[in-house]
């Protein structure tokens, strides 16, 4: 299984990249980032792009920067960059914990954070992170820069708000308050496989009660999202089995679980209940 022929463009600047993308996008031109999703799809001939705009040789796209309120992640920042904490904030530890669940070590050396968002697999850990933390996704084109809130970014299975000539230049994640607790859990059949369900939770404790709860669920619906019903079940409650079970139940009831040839919606709903509860237990360590 070999990819079909294509022309590779190797821009040296972001400006050059969006210019080329604007020209080739109408002829099935695409961005090539880490290639860890695109190349397999091309090998299967599920995609036969005529042009690839390879962004790997653009200087500065591997930049991770924090301005005290936001963490900016450039288009060529690899998953492996998060193996160690990238910022002295609970967000750094959260990203390190989540990154370990993405694929395998060699794939994490190449695959990018932004590429994961552009690819928008329903099970993607980074898509779940972006949805749960309300990231801002920055799209660049010859028409300029467009910030897109995460809740408007995901549009369906592997479908996003990016226009065909838009390059995902950067993702911005809000830094968390220093007392933020987080928990993550996913279920997959084999180590490194895509998760069948995953949950990411964050909250603060105020006077021993949960506040500002965020409960994100991925892998169960066409794209990840925060589950308001589960968050409501947590806020104002002391952390512990009772609140965690109530939130897990609320999440399981709220999702419209996908079905496929291997798993029924009912099974996926059970998984949601389990991963939300386990993520909450993980947060309470």
């Amino acid at each position: 299984m070999k990819p079909a022929p294509f022309i590779r463009h190797v821009p040296k600047t972001l400006d050059e990249a969006v210019k080329i993308l604007a020209q080739v996008a109408p002829q099935d031109g695409r961005v090539l980032a880490g290639g860890q999703s695109l190349v397999p799809i091309m090998a299967f001939r599920l995609a036969k792009p005529a042009h690839l705009v390879d962004i790997n040789e653009i200087d500065g796209l591997d930049r991770i920067a924090s301005d005290g309120t936001t963490l900016s992640i450039g288009a060529c920042v690899r998953h492996g960059a998060f193996h160690k904490s990238v910022v002295g904030n609970p967000l750094g530890a959260l990203l390190t914990f989540v990154a370990r669940h993405i694929a395998h070590y060699p794939i994490r050396m190449r695959g990018t954070f932004c590429g994961s968002l552009a690819h928008a697999d329903p099970s993607s850990e980074w898509c779940l992170t972006a949805a749960t933390l309300d990231a801002t996704i920055v799209a660049r084109s010859t028409r300029g820069e467009r910030p897109i809130p995460a809740r408007e970014f995901f549009a369906g299975i592997m479908s996003t708000a990016l226009a065909e000539d838009e390059l995902l230049a950067e993702v911005r994640l809000p830094l968390l308050s220093p007392d933020t607790k987080f928990g993550f859990n996913e279920f997959s059949r084999r180590a490194g496989d895509f998760a069948m369900s995953a949950a990411l939770v964050t909250y603060r404790l105020q006077g021993g009660k949960i506040a500002e709860a965020r409960v994100g669920v991925g892998g169960a619906e066409p794209f990840p999202r925060r589950i308001a019903q589960a968050e409501a079940a947590l806020n104002g409650q002391p952390p512990g089995d009772k609140a965690f079970r109530a939130a897990a139940e609320a999440a399981a009831n709220a999702v419209e679980a996908m079905e496929d040839h291997q798993t029924s919606a009912e099974y996926r709903r059970d998984l949601v209940r389990a991963v939300v509860r386990r993520a909450l237990e993980h947060s309470n360590r």
């Binding site: 590779r8 190349v39 070590y105 060699p106």
Partner: protein, 158 residues
């Protein structure tokens, strides 16, 4: 056919001037164009890890990179591990601990383990298991691979 471009791949310190189409994967170029057939190809879509090589110090799947993307970078393959007749500690450990049977997966496991241990010499035994879950082996049942890599890790830290 599309146009071929001239590139130079540096494999184990030796330059190979080759002409490849843009769609040529690094794995195919290493084997077919540079004649270094120690790197194996199993699935061609990133799942098995047989094609793992080290590019600029990072273990990567060579079936998921295009050859042209590796031009100018330092590529290391299984052929570069031994120094003359002296096996690399990782190769020796695979022999000593029976870390291979048919050997098809072995070059990939060797480059994966060497690549990770050179980057993270003090990686824990638990994390090593996670790393080794990256690649598939249909023969050994993994236990002897894990033993071999742990033994080599001790040796490489000396």
């Amino acid at each position: 056919m599309t146009e071929k471009s001239s590139i130079t791949l540096t494999i184990n310190g030796r330059d190979h001037a080759i002409k490849v189409e843009a769609r040529r994967t690094l794995a195919d170029a290493i084997r077919e164009d540079c004649g270094q057939t120690g790197t194996h190809i199993g699935c061609e879509h990133g799942v098995c890890g047989a094609c793992t090589v080290i590019v600029d110090g990072e273990p990567v799947r060579s079936c998921l990179m295009f050859a042209a993307q590796a031009a100018g970078k330092q590529i290391r393959t299984v052929e570069g591990l031994a120094k003359g007749d002296t096996l690399h500690p990782m190769q020796q450990a695979f022999m000593d601990h029976h870390g291979l049977q048919c050997g098809f997966c072995t070059p990939g496991f060797l480059m994966l383990a060497v690549g990770v241990l050179e980057r993270e010499p003090d990686i824990s035994d638990d994390d090593l298991i996670d790393v080794l879950s990256s690649n598939l082996c249909r023969c050994t049942g993994y236990q002897n691979i894990i033993k071999a890599v742990r033994a080599a890790a001790k040796e490489m830290r000396k």
